[in-house]
């Protein structure tokens, strides 16, 4: 259900403005709207509210603090961050205690954050250095190993200085050019050997007399050639010794890296919650300061405009009256149907239906003044899910999965909601499983479980009829709701068009049912009569494209055949699992194979059943009535209320 919203205007004496803003922030129900003021000078009655110098400074300071806090939060390891967010979402005792302590400290928080920033920066710098060292030393190790392999053969180390350069294999045509340059610089007094460094790069080792070092360096620098040098600390040493030092260091560095990471973890386990809470409190303050730009003022008064759920107006009026007597008043502004596109949408469904709002999150919000589809999807989604999966065994497993999800959800609302949707769908799966007599496919039948109504693996045609009937009912409900929605949004033309489409559909159903021997022959004539009357009416209303819409509606109904198709596929796969399991001589092996197959079938079943049930809603059902275009409701509220 879409909550009724009111557009209000709060007018009061200017001296109360800051305390009113604080009050509205704590009240947490009003979505503030910017009051448009095109001129902020001259003889206009209302002006923008400008911040005082003190507030401007505070805003700057808080913006800077926000950047620092974000920088620190980015360094919190993910597993700690999730744990901390969970604590905040659950509002644990620890969270409340820390928040109260931070609120008492006030501006002392700045120096605390600066201290944490210094610490974390130093740890991160150290960690980056170690990671760079590991990377460099791994490269050096390769280079030294190559030097060691090549150099001794020529006895270079006594006479020559050595450098290594790396070149992409795709650029290897430059090697002769480089050699030519060395030829010129050293008067042909050099050694040059190239070799593969890795899959993409070549290494060239160049030996030359020490007196040419500067010229060669300049050449390499000017031509931007990548140099791979043995670091200074290893240069004077024999290559064997250098290699063993590098290897030793490569063993040492990961331990140091682990040590630094541990220190980072400890820091955030102790102070991470404070940082997250400070960030939230800081954002609250910033939002409060920024809100002033949406208000307007005259010489002595201020004006605040915004949206509030109608049920909360009286409470807000009462609170303002208690605190400010008559110096602040609330006016409820008249809302015309033309303003509906501006109204923010607050969905307020009963607690048990609320999780199903998640299934509508893939679509835009409904327009204000139209129907909310949450209750409908809360009924039909589990129904379709159960109808397709329909297996007692799978239903029981789904309940277990749902309980596990709920256990691990803790503060995460999304997981909680998904677990609830699964639970309801699982119950529906068990109910339909009982109707069709299925327990892990045909295992139940082997132990005397019989279908109450249909044997799905055999009754393909009755199941197809059932799916189509479900489609007819669903689409007809959609068309009825479409008619109502058009009426509610004052679109009379669409209303009549949808109603006529519904009547044509009923006519076709009468004819089809009579042809299929489901209804007495008289319905054939009634159906024909309806078509003869309403198709011309539809063409009159909607032009010659109208019959096409009816055909597309028929296509929508046929699409419900997927309930039968996917359902039959699921039961047959379950039977294949059982058959495969029972074909082994070993009982244990048979059970393992059958279990694996059932797990696979359940996973595929959950996935495809969810997707197709959703699709039936989004494409077939909602297209008949759901009108999108609502704005999200974003109340001006504190992070902790």
């Amino acid at each position: 259900m879409i909550s009724k919203m009111s557009y209000i205007e709060i007018v009061g004496i200017k001296k109360h403005l800051s305390s009113i803003v604080e009050k509205l922030h704590s009240f947490g129900k009003m979505q503030i709207e910017k009051i448009p003021i095109t001129e902020d000078f001259g003889e206009v009655f209302l002006h923008k509210v400008h911040l005082q110098e003190k507030e401007v400074l505070e805003e700057q300071k808080r913006e800077e603090l926000s950047e620092v806090l974000e920088e620190i939060i980015n360094h919190i390891p993910k597993y700690i961050l999730n744990q901390l967010r969970e604590d905040i979402a659950l509002n644990t005792e620890k969270t409340v205690r820390k928040r109260q302590a931070l609120e008492k400290k006030g501006t002392e928080g700045y120096s605390y954050v600066a201290m944490i920033q210094r610490q974390i920066r130093s740890f991160i710098r150290r960690r980056n250095n170690i990671e760079n060292d590991i990377q460099l030393l791994s490269n050096y190790k390769k280079v030294v190993a190559i030097f060691k392999e090549i150099v001794p053969q020529y006895g270079w180390r006594e006479k020559y200085d050595i450098i290594g350069i790396t070149i992409d294999k795709s650029n290897k045509y430059v090697l002769p050019i480089i050699q030519e340059e060395f030829f010129k610089v050293t008067n042909n007094d050099y050694k040059f050997i190239s070799k593969n460094l890795d899959e993409k790069r070549l290494i060239a080792v160049i030996g030359f007399k020490k007196k040419h070092l500067e010229k060669i360096k300049n050449f390499i620098w000017n031509e931007k050639i990548d140099e791979l040098r043995i670091p200074g600390e290893y240069r004077g040493k024999p290559l064997d010794e250098s290699l063993s030092i590098i290897e030793e260091k490569l063993k040492q560095l990961p331990l140091e890296l682990k040590e630094v990471s541990k220190k980072i973890d400890i820091l955030f386990q102790e102070d991470g919650l404070n940082i997250l809470l400070l960030n939230m409190m800081n954002k609250d303050c910033l939002n409060r300061i920024k809100a002033y730009s949406s208000f307007a003022q005259s010489q002595y008064t201020f004006v605040i405009k915004g949206w509030i759920p109608s049920e909360d107006i009286e409470r807000l009026k009462g609170e303002l009256k208690d605190n400010y007597k008559d110096s602040v008043v609330i006016n409820e502004l008249h809302l015309r149907k033309g303003d509906y596109s501006k109204v923010p949408i607050l969905l307020s469904n009963p607690k048990k239906r609320r999780p199903f709002e998640r299934l509508l999150a893939f679509l835009s919000l409904p327009k204000y003044g139209t129907l909310d589809a949450t209750s409908l999807i809360a009924v039909f989604f589990p129904m379709f899910f159960g109808l397709i999966l329909a297996d007692i065994g799978y239903g029981i497993l789904l309940i277990l999965i749902s309980r596990l999800l709920s256990y691990y959800a803790k503060g995460r609302n999304l997981l909680k909601d998904i677990s609830w949707i699964f639970l309801i769908s699982a119950i529906s799966t068990i109910i339909f499983g009982t109707i069709f007599g299925e327990f892990f496919g045909d295992i139940g039948k082997r132990f005397g479980l019989h279908p109450i109504w249909l044997k799905r693996e055999e009754a393909i045609m009755p199941l197809l009829v059932l799916a189509i009937v479900v489609g007819v009912v669903h689409i007809m409900i959609g068309l009825v709701l479409g008619t109502i929605n058009s009426y509610l949004t004052n679109r009379k033309y669409d209303m009549w068009n949808t109603a006529v489409r519904l009547l044509i559909l009923i006519g076709i159903i009468f004819i089809g049912s009579e042809v299929g021997n489901f209804l007495p022959p008289i319905f054939f004539n009634i159906g024909m009569g309806m078509l003869l009357i309403f198709i011309p009416v539809s063409i009159k209303l909607h032009g010659f494209m109208a019959p096409l819409e009816v055909i597309s509606t028929m296509g929508n109904i046929l699409s419900y055949a997927r309930i039968m198709a996917i359902g039959v596929a699921s039961v047959i796969l379950a039977m294949v699992a059982n058959k495969l399991g029972s074909s082994f001589n070993s009982l244990l092996l048979g059970v393992i194979v059958a279990t694996l197959f059932h797990v696979l079938n359940l996973a595929v079943g959950i996935f495809s059943t969810t997707i197709h049930s959703l699709r039936l809603h989004y494409v077939e059902f909602f297209s008949k009535f759901y009108i999108t275009g609502g704005r999200e409701y974003k109340p001006f509220r504190k992070s902790f209320l």
Binding site: A361, F362, M461, F524, R562, A565, I566, S608
Partner: protein
């Protein structure tokens, strides 16, 4: 022009009525399942196979294009994952209708 179109629509409706009546009479004359020749049964089976096979290929082609575009979109905007998964399921209608036609060919004809 409009008069012609109206005439056309009403004519179509009347044809629909007449064809339904004729179909009923024809249905009474259609041989029973057990009386069909092997060739007829084979042709029906081929028709059912073609019904599922061709629609499955069409679905595959459509899904491959949506899937490739969807994967690109998810890289840019991971929050679109749910919507893309539903979009990929849309062409499955073709193969499901193909399956339905095949089921009708096998069980109802």
């Amino acid at each position: 022009m409009k008069k012609i179109l109206w005439f056309f629509v009403i004519g179509l409706l009347l044809m629909f009525v007449a064809s339904n009546v004729m179909a009923k009479e024809e249905a009474a004359q259609t041989p029973k399942k057990s009386e069909r020749s092997d060739l007829a049964v084979g042709l029906l089976a081929l028709a059912a196979a073609l019904s599922v096979g061709t629609t499955a290929i069409a679905t595959g082609i459509a899904q491959s294009k949506i899937g490739a575009a969807g994967a690109g979109a998810i890289v840019e905007k991971p929050e679109l994952s749910g919507t893309i998964i539903v979009l990929i399921a849309i062409p499955e209608t073709m193969v499901i209708l193909g399956f339905v036609v095949a089921a009708i060919i096998i069980y109802a004809l």
